[in-house]
């Protein structure tokens, strides 16, 4: 029995190696026959507590983009585009698995996603190796664009910016000088907290406590006791809705933390968070990149279509980014695709080259300019506060200023 298992195992191993080997000498270009389809991979968390709604949101953003643009036209021929959505589980393992899956499928032209920075970080080296390109609508960890990944692009603002805006907002607008930080151990949460910590200390504030939680844990009361004992004025949280909501609830109800301000970022903006936190969401600050005012109408129209098509309100902030990411890829295919004898050929290197140097892409989130590192978005960061009914109102906007500075303007009222 054991021996037979061993044999099966070895066979599987050989098969896996075979697939990898095959993937590695996969053609550096994708061909689509006249009656074929252009396949775009989509990697987002489609399962997981508090995560799946974000993932579905991203998937739907891409679906809406394809509804508007069901085909790409190259050399006068229209090729239909289809989406291959896969679950990245919002984790490094998931990102790795999904990247391997896509690179072993030579028909996948490019990828929208992954969704979470942990998954992006794990997927990038594998995609690099195979010459693939990805455009993430939501991986915001700062170091993703400084790690020289050739496959990584994002249609969302780096937390290097979001975190600085948050720190400056806390210090200048709220006028608070001592904070505590909590992250969820994810690349996103930890990266964000690192930026906030560094920026806040640079501004002259102090971080009096720093801790982290595990995704999936439910009892943070002991941790909050410790944090409250350090007497911060504000808790800054890098993470997602499930843990964020538990932290706020337990902070307000179970420990003596009713006075402490709670702030998070796009991980707890909109969608599930207010529902999960209930009345305790009131007064919680969040931030996220905001579509430029110029596109407000178009964005609202998209959201209205979303609600109509799927029968529920969009969850998080990323469906618009996903819409843009999909369109960037479609643009790139149309630009670098070549048609010979009715067959479309997309050179992967050319596609990557094009994506990394997009200039003046007019997306719904704003005008995107890719700077060659994978950084494409330069949208403003809006800071919002939750009201008791879970609605958001913008309290400040952070924009890039001169000389790498940041201007945070408090909204009037």
């Amino acid at each position: 029995m054991v021996r037979r298992l061993l044999v099966v195992f070895v066979l599987l191993l050989i098969a896996a190696l075979g697939v990898t080997a095959y993937a590695q000498d996969a053609a550096p270009s994708v061909t689509v026959t006249a009656d074929g389809q252009v396949v775009i991979g989509l990697a987002a968390a489609l399962s997981g507590e508090g995560l799946a709604p974000f993932g579905e949101d991203i998937q739907r953003g891409a679906e809406l983009a394809l509804e508007d643009r069901p085909t790409v036209t190259v050399g006068g021929i229209e090729f239909p585009v289809s989406l291959d959505p896969q679950d990245d589980q919002c984790s490094a393992e998931g990102g790795q698995a999904i990247a391997n899956r896509f690179v072993s499928d030579a028909s996948v032209v490019a990828i929208v996603g992954p969704m979470c920075s942990s998954a992006c970080r794990a997927a990038a080296p594998i995609l690099d190796e195979a010459g693939y390109s990805s455009v993430s609508p939501s991986c915001t960890a700062p170091d993703l664009s400084t790690s020289e990944f050739s496959s990584f692009n994002r249609a969302v603002v780096s937390d290097a910016f979001q975190g600085r805006v948050a720190a400056q907002f806390i210090f200048d607008v709220l006028g608070l000088t001592s904070i505590a930080t909590i992250h969820d151990g994810s690349a996103y949460g930890e990266g964000l907290v690192n930026v906030v910590t560094a920026s806040f200390e640079a501004l002259g504030g102090s971080v009096v406590a720093a801790d982290a939680v595990n995704v999936g844990d439910t009892d943070f009361r002991g941790l909050l006791e410790d944090i409250v004992a350090a007497e911060p004025e504000l808790i800054y949280f890098g993470g997602f809705a499930a843990e964020g909501a538990r932290l706020v609830q337990q902070l307000k109800n179970d420990v003596d933390g009713g006075e402490i301000v709670f702030m998070g970022a796009d991980g707890i903006k909109g969608g599930e968070f207010p529902g999960l936190a209930g009345a305790d969401a009131e007064g919680v600050y969040t931030s996220s990149s905001i579509p430029s005012d110029a596109n407000k109408e178009a964005v609202d129209a998209l959201l209205a279509r979303y609600t109509e098509k799927y029968g529920i309100e969009p969850t998080g902030p990323f469906q618009v980014n996903s819409y843009d990411a999909t369109n960037m890829i479609l643009d790139a295919i149309e630009a670098v695709g070549v048609v010979t004898d009715g067959t479309l050929t997309v050179d992967r290197a050319a596609l990557s080259e094009y994506l990394r140097s997009i200039e003046g892409f007019e997306g719904l989130t704003g005008t995107l300019n890719c700077d060659g590192t994978g950084e494409c978005s330069a949208a403003d960061i809006g800071i919002d506060i939750y009201a008791a009914d879970g609605s958001l109102s913008t309290v400040a906007v952070g924009s890039p200023g001169d000389d790498n500075s940041i201007v945070v303007t408090a909204s009037e009222g």
Binding site: L46, S47, G48, E49, G50, A52, P53, E56, G185, A210, D211, A212, V213, N214, G216, D217, T218, D219, F220, R221, G222, L223, E225, D226, A229, A230, A241, A242, A245, R246, Q249, N253, D254, V255, D256, E272, G275, L276, G278, A279
Partner: protein
Amino acid sequence: MASTASQPATTSGGDGVSLAQRIIKLLRNPLQVAGLVIVIFLVWTIIQNLTGLAAAGRPLSVERIIRVIIFGLAQGSIYALIALGYTLVYGILSMINFAHSEVFMSGAYIGFFAIHWAEQSGLLYSNTALALLITVTVGMAAAVTIAVLLERIAYRPLRGAPRLVPLITAIGASIALQQIFLRLFGSATRVYPEVNFYVLPQLFRLECETIDGAEICKGMDLINGRYDVQLLGMELQLRPIFFVVFFLAVLMMAILWYIVRRTKIGKAMRAVAEDRKTASLMGINVDRVIVSTFILGAALAGAAGVLFALYNTQVSPFMGFTPGIKAFTAAVIGGIGNIPGAMFGGLFLGVTESLAPTLLGMSSQLEDVIVFGLLILVLIFRPTGIFGEVLSEKKA
């Protein structure tokens, strides 16, 4: 399902062995030496942390420790209730029912529909006690249904198969149940409504209003309330819900204990756990007894699910995973197959998990490291768990 802690004299090291001899024996085992070093290191870290905090002018107050212990006891009660399900099934089938975490989840999740209905219909406000009773009953019934189906469909056909087979099936069943709930009810996390359950207005003169000169009090809010309590000269802010969870858990465990020790079906369970063939020779319907065991474990897990959701509010198809793993760990720490062991293991784990980061001055992210480290420590010194017996050859 071992019964009592009292064991025939199978353990070595009787009274005749001197302390020195015992230490020498201990030192001969490298694993135990390593374990000892870790224990010493932990104690040292605690002392360091406490003196450090005191020196920094922020000594760890007794109030804080007490509050953290109370949090831990509540969470531990949930673990204990789930752990009992693992231990009951292991005791009778020598199999780890990994899908038990989903039994817990289904209790909380289906319970949500009950309490949601109660909220919509207003029953939750007009007759809170009845609404809560319905919620718990629905949660328990759902968990029991799932567990019975599991046993019937996934486990019974594999009764004679090698032990690895039902184990893998259990893992598969666990994933399948998550996915079924996901497809049926969607991925969105659902939230239990806020419940105020006021009791004993005569005793607790809280939330009072003066209406027409008469003072009318609502009483103590068992679920959402939070009160200042003076205890031994300490000011403690406490929520009754933690005590409610703890006492209900203890009550349910007592009922389980009574069932297993005193009732006919309980004795039959112990008989089947020990020797299935002889049990059937005595006229015991082994299948029925096994199903009853699943039902008992599931009822506890379902109740735990609803209790858990009442104060942690969020429920989702994936919510069972972490508490399930923790409860399983608790069952192993206590000695899997042993009922008091599971109760103790759950509470012990809950308190440790809650208290350890505070005492050690470590990040709560290391909570899980501590939990599983604890498991390893226990297994080093007592491979069969704290209450576990030395396995007889027959069962080993």
